[in-house]
C-alpha cells in the first residue's frame, strides 16, 4: 500500500512572463495517475491543460515560462527542479509525449527512421544498426506497411494519420511508463481519429503504460479514459471517475461541455456551445473564474476563492451551488 502512485501532481503553479509581469496560467492544479490508468485532462483551448502537461517534464519554454510552485512526483521522485541532464534521462525514456500537430512535430529534415532511432540510441544505448532495426520494428507495430522502406522516407512523404502513427511509434519506442498525448487526434480526419485512438489503446494494453490524455472533446474521453480532470482558467473545476462525470456532472462548466458534445440518437439536435470565450490570465474574474459564462451565476459566485469540494467518492467540484443545482449529464 505504501507504494506511491506513478504520477502525483500537487498544487502546480505555472507562470508566463508578459509586459505586465508574471501571469499565472496554471493555478494549484493537482491530480494523480495510477499505473496502467488513463487520465483525461479536459478543457477548452486556453484552459491551461497543455501547459500543465508540458510543465511536468519542463518542456515549456523557460523563459518566458516558469514553474512557480508545487510538486510533480514520478514514482516518488521530484521532477520540479531536477537538474537538466537528469531530466533528459526521464523524458522519452519514462515520460513520453505525443503532440497535436503531426504535420509540424516531426523534423522535416530527417528520415522518420532516424528520428526514432536516435531516441532509442540515446536511452537504450543500442548501436546505430540495432536502433535502426528497432525503429523499423516500431513502425511495423503501429501499422505502417512496408516499414523498412518507409523508415528511409521523410515526414512530408506521409499523410497526417501516418505521421501521427510515426509519432506514436517514436513515443513508445523506449517503453515509457507514462505517455502524455496532447490532442493527438484533433488535427486528423474523423475516420482516422478512431484508428489512432484504437492504436493508442492497443499500445497501452501491450506495454502496460499509463496515459494522460489531453483533449477538448468529451466524446474522445468517453472512448478511452478512466478518470477525468476538467480544467478551466488554469484551475481544476471538476474531477471524477468517467461514469460519474458523464451521468452526474457536478459543475456547470462540465454540463456545458457535455451539452456541446455532438450526440447521437433521439437527443441529437442543434449544438448549444458555451457562449463567450476562455478568459485571458491577465483579466480573470473575481470569484469563480467561470461565472461570466455560467447560466446559473448568482452573487455568491462573484466573490472570494471557490474551494474544490468533495461531492462523492473520488468526485470533486469547484462550484458553490453544487448542492442546489441538479445538473444534467448524458444518459
Amino acid at each position: 500500500m505504501s507504494e506511491p502512485p506513478l504520477l502525483e501532481v500537487t498544487d502546480l503553479d505555472v507562470d508566463f512572463a508578459t509586459d505586465h509581469g508574471w501571469e499565472r496560467v496554471v493555478n494549484h492544479v493537482s491530480f494523480t495517475v495510477d499505473r496502467g490508468e488513463t487520465l483525461g485532462l479536459v478543457g477548452e483551448s486556453g484552459s491551461g491543460k497543455s501547459v500543465t502537461c508540458m510543465a511536468l517534464t519542463a518542456l515549456i519554454p523557460m523563459p518566458p515560462g516558469r514553474v512557480a510552485g508545487g510538486s510533480v512526483r514520478l514514482e516518488g521522485r521530484e521532477l520540479i527542479g531536477m537538474p537538466a541532464a537528469e531530466l533528459e534521462q526521464v523524458r522519452g525514456a519514462e515520460v513520453a509525449n505525443i503532440f497535436q500537430e503531426p504535420m509540424t512535430s516531426l523534423n522535416p529534415a530527417f528520415t522518420v527512421g532516424e528520428q526514432i532511432a536516435e531516441m532509442v540510441r540515446r536511452h537504450k544505448g543500442l548501436s546505430r544498426r540495432a536502433a535502426r532495426g528497432r525503429a523499423v520494428e516500431m513502425l511495423d507495430r503501429v501499422g505502417i506497411p512496408n516499414a523498412s522502406r518507409r523508415a528511409e522516407e521523410y515526414p512530408h512523404q506521409f499523410s497526417g494519420g501516418m505521421r501521427q502513427r510515426v509519432m506514436i511509434a517514436m513515443a513508445v519506442s523506449c517503453e515509457p511508463k507514462l505517455l502524455i498525448a496532447d490532442e493527438p487526434t484533433t488535427a486528423l480526419d474523423v475516420t482516422i481519429q478512431a484508428q489512432v485512438l484504437d492504436l493508442l489503446r492497443d499500445m497501452q494494453a501491450e506495454l502496460g503504460m499509463s496515459v494522460v490524455f489531453i483533449t477538448h472533446d468529451l466524446g474522445v474521453v468517453a472512448h478511452s479514459c478512466d478518470h477525468v480532470v476538467v480544467l478551466y482558467g488554469g484551475r481544476v473545476m471538476e474531477e471524477a471517475p468517467i461514469d460519474e462525470l458523464y451521468f452526474r456532472p457536478a459543475h456547470p462548466y462540465t454540463e456545458g461541455l457535455l451539452t456541446a458534445m455532438p450526440q447521437i440518437g433521439p437527443r441529437a439536435g442543434r449544438l448549444a456551445s458555451i457562449p463567450g470565450s476562455t478568459p485571458v490570465p491577465s483579466s480573470l474574474p473575481a470569484g469563480c473564474v467561470f461565472n461570466p459564462r455560467c447560466p446559473y451565476v448568482v452573487e455568491r459566485c462573484r466573490e472570494g476563492e471557490i474551494p474544490l469540494v468533495e461531492v462523492g467518492p473520488g468526485h470533486r467540484s469547484r462550484c458553490v451551488r453544487v448542492s442546489e443545482l441538479n445538473l444534467v449529464g448524458t444518459s
Binding site: 454540463e255 451539452t259 448549444a272 457562449p275 447560466p295 446559473y296 445538473l327 444534467v328
Partner: protein, 316 residues
C-alpha cells in the same frame, strides 16, 4: 430572487440554449470603440521606436548641416594653407587639415552635400528604372513577368560594385555616371519588391472587381495598387539610401566617382588613405560619417517597417 436549495433550479441543455441566445444579443449591443486611422496607428508605433527616432534626428541634423554648410563651415573648403599641412585636431582646425592644408571640418560639411545628394540621385534613378517594370511584371504577369524577372535576375547575378564599375568604365568616371551605375544596380531590387507587392494586392478582390467592370489598367495601378505598396516601398527606399551612400563612397574612394576639387566623404577617405603614413587621423572623420549615416538609414528603415501594420509588412 428565490435561491434556496429546495427550490428546483432549471438545468440541462435547454438552459444552455437560452443562455447562448441571450449572449448573442448582448454581444451585438456591445459595439467596440472606433478604430484609430492607419496613419495615427503608424505614428504611435513609430514614436515608440527609439533607435528609429534617434536615426531620424541624426539624419535631419546631417541634412541641415549640409544645407547650411556655407554658414557653418569655418573655412573655405578649397582654401589651401601651406603652413598647416596634415595637422591633427586643434582649436583652429577641429578635425585637422589635409595634405594641402584644407580644413577637414569644412570639407566634411561640404562633402555631406555631395554624399547625400548623390545617394538621393542614385535612389531616384533606381526607383524610375525599377518601379515601372515591377508594376508591369506584377500586374500583367505571363510573358511580361517572365522577361522582366529574367532580366532582373541577370543583373543581380553580377556583384553590385563590379557592375557599377563596369558601367562607369563605359560611361566614363564622374559622380553622375557613378550614381547612374548605382541606380541601375539597385533597380532590380525595387522591381522585384514592387512585383511581389503587386501580386499580393492583385489577389485581393477589389482589384478583380475593378477589372471586371472595365477600369483601364493604368487607372487601377494608380488608384488601387500604388497606394497599397507605398509603405513597404518607403522602407526599401530608406535601406537603399544607405546602400547608395556606401556605393558612392566606394566609387569615389576608388577615384571613379566625384572629381576633385569637389569631394564627397568617400573622396575624403581616399585622400586620407594616400597620406595615411603621415597622418592617420584624417581617415577617421569621413569613415565615421559614412558609417553613422548608413546606420541611420538602416535603423530608420527598420523602424518604419516595424511600425507598419502586420498586414502591410507582409510585402517586405
Amino acid at each position: 430572487m428565490a435561491d434556496r436549495a429546495d427550490v428546483a433550479v432549471p438545468t440541462g441543455p435547454e438552459v444552455w440554449r437560452r443562455h447562448a441566445q441571450d449572449h448573442r444579443v448582448e454581444q451585438s449591443l456591445d459595439e467596440s470603440s472606433a478604430p484609430l486611422s492607419a496613419r495615427a496607428r503608424f505614428l504611435r508605433r513609430f514614436l515608440q521606436q527609439r533607435p528609429a527616432i534617434g536615426a531620424l534626428t541624426f539624419l535631419v541634423l546631417i541634412v541641415l548641416a549640409a544645407l547650411f554648410a556655407p554658414l557653418l563651415a569655418p573655412y573655405d573648403p578649397d582654401q589651401n594653407d601651406i603652413r598647416n599641412l596634415l595637422s591633427g585636431p586643434s582649436g583652429d582646425h577641429w578635425l585637422g587639415t589635409d595634405h594641402l592644408g584644407r580644413d577637414t571640418l569644412s570639407r566634411m560639411l561640404y562633402g555631406a552635400r555631395v554624399s547625400l545628394l548623390a545617394a538621393v540621385q542614385a535612389v531616384s534613378i533606381a526607383l524610375v528604372l525599377g518601379v515601372v517594370p515591377g508594376l508591369l511584371a506584377g500586374f500583367f504577369g505571363r510573358w511580361v513577368d517572365v522577361v522582366i524577372m529574367r532580366a532582373t535576375e541577370t543583373i543581380m547575378t553580377f556583384p553590385p560594385l563590379l557592375l557599377a564599375i563596369a558601367i562607369v568604365a563605359v560611361r566614363g568616371p564622374g559622380l553622375f555616371n557613378a550614381m547612374l551605375a548605382v541606380g541601375v544596380v539597385f533597380a532590380p531590387r525595387f522591381a522585384r519588391l514592387v512585383r511581389g507587392l503587386v501580386l499580393g494586392v492583385r489577389e485581393e478582390t477589389f482589384i478583380e472587381a475593378s477589372r471586371s467592370i472595365g477600369t483601364p489598367a493604368h487607372r487601377i495601378l494608380r488608384r488601387h495598387v500604388l497606394p497599397n505598396i507605398l509603405s513597404p516601398l518607403v522602407v526599401q527606399i530608406s535601406l537603399a539610401l544607405g546602400f547608395a551612400m556606401l556605393a558612392e563612397a566606394a566609387l569615389s574612394f576608388l577615384g571613379l566617382g566625384v572629381r576633385p576639387p569637389e569631394a564627397s566623404w568617400g573622396a575624403l577617405l581616399q585622400v586620407a588613405y594616400n597620406n595615411i603614413n603621415r597622418n592617420s587621423f584624417q581617415a577617421i572623420p569621413p569613415g565615421v560619417a559614412i558609417m553613422l549615416c548608413v546606420l541611420a538609414f538602416n535603423l530608420l528603415g527598420d523602424g518604419i517597417r516595424d511600425s507598419l501594420g502586420k498586414e502591410i509588412r507582409r510585402g517586405t
